[in-house]
Amino acid sequence: MVALLVRLKLTLLKNSLKRSVWRTVGLIIAMLYALGVVIMVLAGLVALRYASLALTADVTVIGFAALSVGWLLMSMLVFGVDETIDPAKFALLPVRARELLPGLLVAGLISAPGIATVLVGAGLVITWARTVPLTLAALIGAVLGVVTCFLLSRAATAAFASFLASRRFRDLAFVGVALLGVAMGIAGNMVSAIVRTDVGGLRRSLSNLAILAGWSPFGWAWAIPADVSGNAWAETGLHLVLAVALVGVLWMAWGHFLGVRLVSPTEGGGTASKVRESAAVERLYPATPAGGVAARALRYWRRDPRYVAGIAGFLIGPIVLIVTQVINPEGTAAVAAFAPSLLGLLVGFSLAQDLSYDGTALWLHISTGISGAEDRAGRVMSTITVYLPLTVILLAIAMITTGAWHLLVPAVGLTFALMLTGLGVGSFVGTLWQWPAPPPGANPFTRGNAGGLPSLLSFTLTMFGTLILALPTIALVIWSFFTPWVAYASLPVGLICGFLVLRIGIAQGGRVLDRRWPEAMLAVSEKAA
């Protein structure tokens, strides 16, 4: 079964590469990136061979525990799980979850992050290969550690995905993940602030951190060679038992959730939930095609978990900035005051990915023959309806908590300049690239394999385009730090430039779309491998 699944994975990978140049390019970029990181880490680990045993112990335990945390967080928040081999596809075959697990484990490790982690794990053995017992301990620790990394991400996403299968909890869960992100961001900032204030005790805090990391579940396996190097045999034994037990528990948890998925591969529906009929949404907008698009999109902002997740994701950055600056005694009010402009900068991307989120439902826009400009304008209207109140609230929070009212005018100017410019740029960029996004209600952790590169291009171009086109306002705001009255010019300039970019973005994006409708349809309907 292991060989069969590994072969299946390789065949699927080969076929998906054959189908799309984008995917090949994306994979090569991911490989090169991973290779660069791995080489740097390996070089560091080899260099550690010349350091003292105690230092090696502290550094490796902290570093590798961070790797385990990274696997968990990255798979939950950013990358999702590579479901090239989707366990649900085995639902009709007479196999048990138990038989599938070893094969899925090995097949799952055949991926850029998987191979990179195995190589880095080998680096642990290299750095500890100083005596025979140490080498042996490092080998055991590395194997247990790598397996723990992988199992952590699988068990956590599997547990979370089955939790998400009921639509009622889904919005809540996304908000939960977003809050977790906020908490991590704030905690990270606090730790770095504490370390910065205590440079003299850096070595001591490193040791303390290593102890903390070594006794957290993320560090149990990685701490085994470190214990051996200090001749701490009791700790060695305890860490070994704990690490093996963790692997066992995660293995069983993953097996349990996999078993559940084999029995109920599709999402649970059943309860036909009714929506309250309300014409209020329609009355917000004119009774035109653009108004229709706006009303539809506004309903999606509420009902489609992907949009809810998007709002939460965009709010993380500004909230983390405001909170950390306010609770940090050395924080500067200016950073918090201008934090809402970050939201303005990000809003454009939600427009840039809107067509992809529609998926094949886009045929309706094409076959009804609405113009590209109407499509763009409708989406801009609904995005403003959602983000304008949020931005105003964020600005109010930033001003009230910092008391930096003298920054109100330039902060409002910059935020709305970036928001309007971003909406214009997003309206245009969204017409250039589309990709097949996982439909609403699909496992949100499934990585949209094909989406990688186009969505990255789209994101990058939207960000840089927005920053460049908002330069006049940005320049005025910076100038106002030296010549305060300039701040009053930044508000009208920001609004006028923003509206100009928005109008041009809608018109030009619409023109591109009028030419590219069928191509956009093709791009979103390519089935995610």
């Binding site: 036909a272 939930s273 035109t288 229709g292 539809r296 309903r299 439902a361 076959s367 439909p439």
Partner: protein
């Protein structure tokens, strides 16, 4: 009843071609559908029916050839051509996070139906298609047959001159199927034109005035029902055209053990 004489065709496809990689999905396909016709497009799986209809409705750009709807070129003057068409595609998603009523309202707005008309037409369509009880249920919760019906309602709400329906009866229960048939018959009697694809020969035989048999991206036979049948049954004629040879007795012999 199909109109005869020198009137412009409801749908006219000339030399349509489409390749996906090395595979020729549609190969110089010509088709003419007269006004007022119920026209059936039949063919085996992978014959290119959906690809053809996608190119006729403006969803897929042809490699070569033209598609005209009531004398408006779909690819040169898309807005005018699309305004005359009502489309029900197969295998494409709907905006399914809307309720049935909201979806119809949306399509009505996109189609520029006067706002006062939208509500009354939507209510009539939902009642006619027995979706009245589920008007406020999200479309994602609908069954496959209900999805077809709401899709048909979306295609009808702006009173199009030409209906293009891809597999309109798939997964539809017999009662709803009869409702759809009568809607389509009345629509054609009033001068509308229907082009629909199907696998089911009996359905095409009972409903359509004219049909075309498509395989490997080409039209093998086209004309009135009697012309295509040529004295035989449509089922037999179809199998002959497509080149079907029945598998021998000895094939899949191992399967027989399962009955014991």
């Amino acid at each position: 009843m199909c109109l005869t004489g020198q009137v412009t065709a409801a749908l006219s496809l000339v030399g349509l071609c489409k390749s996906f990689g090395l595979k020729r999905a549609v190969d110089h396909l010509d088709l003419e559908v007269r006004r007022g016709c119920m026209f059936g497009l039949v063919g085996p799986n992978g014959a290119g029916k959906t690809t053809t209809l996608s190119m006729a409705t403006g969803l897929l750009r042809p490699d070569a050839g033209t598609a005209r709807v009531l004398d408006h070129d779909v690819w040169a003057d898309p807005a005018a051509a699309k305004a005359l068409m009502g489309v029900l595609p197969d295998g494409l998603r709907l905006f399914d996070r809307l309720s049935g009523a909201e979806l119809l309202q949306y399509v009505g707005l996109l189609r520029r139906v006067p706002p006062a008309e939208i509500a009354s037409r939507a209510a009539e369509l939902l009642d006619a298609l027995a979706l009245g009880d589920d008007r406020d249920t999200l479309v994602v919760e609908y069954s496959a047959g209900m999805m077809k019906k709401i899709g048909l309602a979306c295609a009808l709400i702006h009173a199009p001159r030409l209906l293009i329906l891809d597999e309109p009866f798939e997964a539809v229960d017999p009662v709803s199927g009869e409702v759809i048939r009568s809607i389509l018959r009345n629509y054609a009697r009033a001068g509308g034109t229907v082009v629909m694809s199907s696998h089911v020969m009996e359905l095409v035989e009972s409903l359509c005035d004219e049909l075309a048999v498509v395989a490997q991206g080409m039209v093998l036979a086209a004309g009135t029902l009697d012309e295509v049948r040529a004295g035989s049954s449509l089922q037999q004629r179809f199998l002959d055209l497509v080149g079907f040879t029945a598998a021998g007795e000895e094939s899949l012999a191992w399967l027989r053990s399962s009955s014991g």
